[in-house]
């Protein structure tokens, strides 16, 4: 036991002392906070100013194009050719040309621009023209404008969760999705990043030939577990440092930004916050807005999400870590590991690919079964947790996860103990099976 601790300590310290760890620790939060800050910044800065010239030969749209936000519409009386040739010179984004036409046959509308206008703008223009034509048609059919204005309706469904005890709570699908996504992706990255580190560590010991000296002192299983736990500790440390540094950076920057924001900008930010699922403390008028998004988050069982996150984070890492250790023991170099990496990483990548299907139906049979299979459950269950998964399902999934990593650890240790002494042998799945069956 004492020796495992020594191994864990060495694996941990030798990695934490590396320059790359320090660099990742500093760069990580910058990238991470970038993920949160860039959308906020985009939302508050409000896009580029665009000027669009309109030539309306039909005369039907005289009042339809009203400048708003950062879109400025300018009606011009020039003919098409003049306007077209002046487009680049006038620093105008585009030219909307509506020819002489009837509402029965609204054809020939063209948009000229030096750059591709993109879907958003095109759809926007089309919608404006279509609505105007529909309105004219409706008025022509005898309806008055007042009635038309009253026709527009806005519907938003409020989703409410009924608990077993009958109490109701407002659920926030958006916030749940965001929380689930973040949890699922963190677990996915963590397993990939640190699983690969385990593998490289094992290959290093093997190619260094220090392995035989170590194994003369400790059991292969102890060395393998020491490495898995040590590397896991490094990952956990780095993760905690990231969280601490990221939130410090996000808090700092949002505090500065929010002190000179207009209410619209705060609203935009609030939406972003809801998406990111990570509220930031605000001041003054921002406070109220933030409390709203906190309210949405409040419907999610935060302690449950956090404890499940820690569980699946560790269990998923242990499950895959053992497999990565086995791969490392079987090969002589990083390059040889590809053929074995593939089947191990496929279920992991698969679980990320099906995430969107899981969000669509977080309680469907696909989501249910995938959250029970240990290969996919860390990622899939993390996605489902914010959507109120029944306790028995979580318990079942956890039991299968624990059983899963005990199994992979056992499987890996049997391959590992033989593999670490094998040099220069061509290894395929048959060889692995032979090693696995070998008596100790």
């Amino acid at each position: 036991m004492n020796k495992i601790l020594l191994i864990i300590k060495r694996e941990y310290i030798s990695r934490v002392k590396k320059k790359s760890f320090l660099i990742m620790t500093v760069l990580g939060p910058i990238l991470f906070s970038g993920l949160f800050i860039v959308p906020i910044w985009l939302a508050t800065r409000g896009g580029d100013e665009k000027v669009i010239q309109v030539i309306d030969e039909s005369g039907l749209f005289a009042e339809e194009f009203v400048s708003a936000d950062n879109m400025t519409y300018v009606y011009v009386a020039e003919d098409l050719e003049t306007a077209k040739s002046a487009l680049a010179v006038n620093n105008v984004f585009g030219l909307l040309y509506i020819p002489e036409m009837t509402i029965e046959a609204p054809e020939g509308v063209k948009f000229y621009s030096t750059q591709n206008p993109g879907f958003g703008l095109k759809a926007d223009l089309e919608k404006k023209i279509r609505e105007r034509i529909e309105n004219i048609k409706l008025i022509n059919s005898g309806l008055n404008q007042e009635f038309l204005d009253g026709l527009k309706s806005h519907v938003a469904i409020q989703t409410v969760n009924l608990s077993d005890s009958g109490s109701e709570s407002e659920s926030s699908t958006g916030a749940a999705t965001a929380v689930g996504y973040i949890g699922a992706f963190l677990i996915y990255f963590f397993i990939f990043l640190y699983g690969a580190q385990i593998m490289r560590g094992v290959i290093e010991e093997k190619t260094n030939r220090i392995i035989e000296v170590i194994i003369a002192s400790v059991k292969p299983f102890h060395l393998m577990m020491g490495k898995i736990i040590g590397v896991g500790g490094v990952g956990l440390t780095q993760f905690l440092l990231w969280v601490a540094l990221s939130s410090a950076i996000v808090t700092g920057i949002t505090a500065v930004v929010s002190s000179d924001m207009t209410p619209e900008q705060i609203e935009a930010m609030q939406q972003v916050d809801q998406l990111s699922g990570m509220p930031s403390p605000q001041q003054s008028e921002a406070q109220a807005a933030i409390e709203n998004s906190m309210g949405a988050l409040g419907q999610i069982n935060i302690p449950l999400v956090l404890s499940c996150f820690v569980f699946y984070f560790l269990a998923g890492y242990l499950f895959y870590g053992a497999l990565f250790a086995a791969i490392g023991s079987a090969v002589d170099s990083d390059a040889d590991s590809q053929q074995f990496m593939f089947p191990v990483t496929i279920p992991l990548i698969f679980s990320v690919v099906v995430l969107s299907a899981v969000i669509n139906d977080p309680h469907g049979s696909l989501a249910f079964w995938l959250s029970l299979v240990p290969f996919t459950s860390p990622v899939i269950m993390m996605m489902r947790i914010p959507f109120d998964v029944p306790v028995w399902q979580i318990a079942l999934s956890m039991v299968s996860m624990i059983g899963g990593f005990i199994f992979t650890t056992w499987l890996a240790s049997r391959i590992y103990r033989v593999g670490i002494f094998m040099h220069g042998t061509k290894v395929n799945y048959k060889t692995l099976a032979k090693w696995f069956m070998m008596k100790s």
Partner: protein
């Protein structure tokens, strides 16, 4: 008293019989040569003694007790394929390996300092292994093998990669360790170092034990009554019971290799030679370990 008793050890790897019913003893406080060609099973046997692998059959007794994990502390092993963590510093690395053997930190630090000083490499303590030459790294590996003062030290090809100066240094250390009561198992292909260092030997070939015992006894056993004589005069006349193996003339001097039959003594030979010429020298041809190795491993001269 034997430190190690190997009793009927067998080990199979799939279709390959690595060791086949091997039994021999390693006396306490000796330098023991474990010999054999490549692939004979030496490394497998060493790995069984170091408890890296388990034998299929048979047992190994350590000081009369069946080998168990407690004995790991008392064994120091320098494998043939050896390495160190490249990024770690010399001092840290030695401390880690000593602690893995079960040493207390404080004791380990003292012992490491002592050894670094003894091999005149104290100034390397804070260097990373990757900055050292191969020979320097081997000194570190040697220290790692003996720092916990094991009673059994297993050295697999310890001199490979050493320059003659360092090889001698290590040789002296090996003698000194035996003086202090340690037993050394020494596995090698270099027969001249076996001749020089070993008290006892065992020779394994094709997974089987071929020879084992005291070096002197074995040499005696392989004496075949062959003598080399030098005399001045003509070639020897034939004598019943004496087979002439080779004759070499150097001017007046005739050098003859002869094999005597059971019934004929050395005195008869001397009389025979002196009756016709002047005897200059007569020596028994004692086989070297190298001769024994080659004749045992490869009796037909090809394979």
């Amino acid at each position: 008293m034997n430190l190690i008793d190997i009793q009927n050890i067998s080990k199979r790897y799939g279709d390959h019989q690595a060791l086949d019913n091997i039994s021999f003893a390693i006396p306490d406080n000796s330098i023991f040569g474990l010999l054999g060609p490549n692939g004979a099973g030496k490394t497998t046997l060493i790995r069984i003694i170091t408890q890296i692998i388990m034998s299929d059959q048979g047992e190994v007794l350590f000081n009369g007790v069946k080998l168990d994990p407690e004995h790991i502390r008392q064994i120091g092993y320098l494998p043939e394929e050896r390495g160190l963590y490249k990024k770690m510093k010399v001092g840290e690395q030695l401390l880690y390996l000593a602690q893995l053997k079960g040493m207390e930190k404080r004791e380990a630090v003292t012992k490491i300092k002592h050894w670094l000083k003894k091999l005149e490499i104290s100034s390397w303590s804070n260097k990373a292994i990757e900055d050292l030459s191969k020979g320097m790294q081997q000194k570190i590996q040697f220290i790692a093998t003996v720092v916990h003062e094991p009673s059994l030290i297993i050295l697999d090809e310890p001199f490979s990669g050493f320059d003659p100066v360092n090889a001698n240094l290590i040789k002296d250390e090996i003698f000194e360790l035996r003086e202090k009561g340690a037993t050394v198992i020494f596995s090698t292909h270099r027969m001249e170092s076996v001749e020089e260092l070993c008290d006892d030997i065992a020779l394994i070939n094709h997974s089987k034990l071929v020879i084992s015992g005291k070096k002197g006894d074995i040499k005696n056993q392989y004496r075949d009554n062959t003598f080399i004589t030098e005399h001045i005069g003509d070639e020897l006349r034939p004598l019943a019971g004496v087979e002439v193996l080779s004759v070499l003339k150097k001017g007046e001097l005739v050098k003859t290799e002869l094999k005597l039959d059971e019934g004929i003594g050395v005195n008869d030979l001397v009389t025979h030679i002196t009756s016709q010429s002047t005897l200059v020298s007569l020596n028994e041809k004692i086989p070297s370990i190298n001769d024994i190795f080659i004749s045992t491993v490869n009796p037909s001269g090809h394979e």
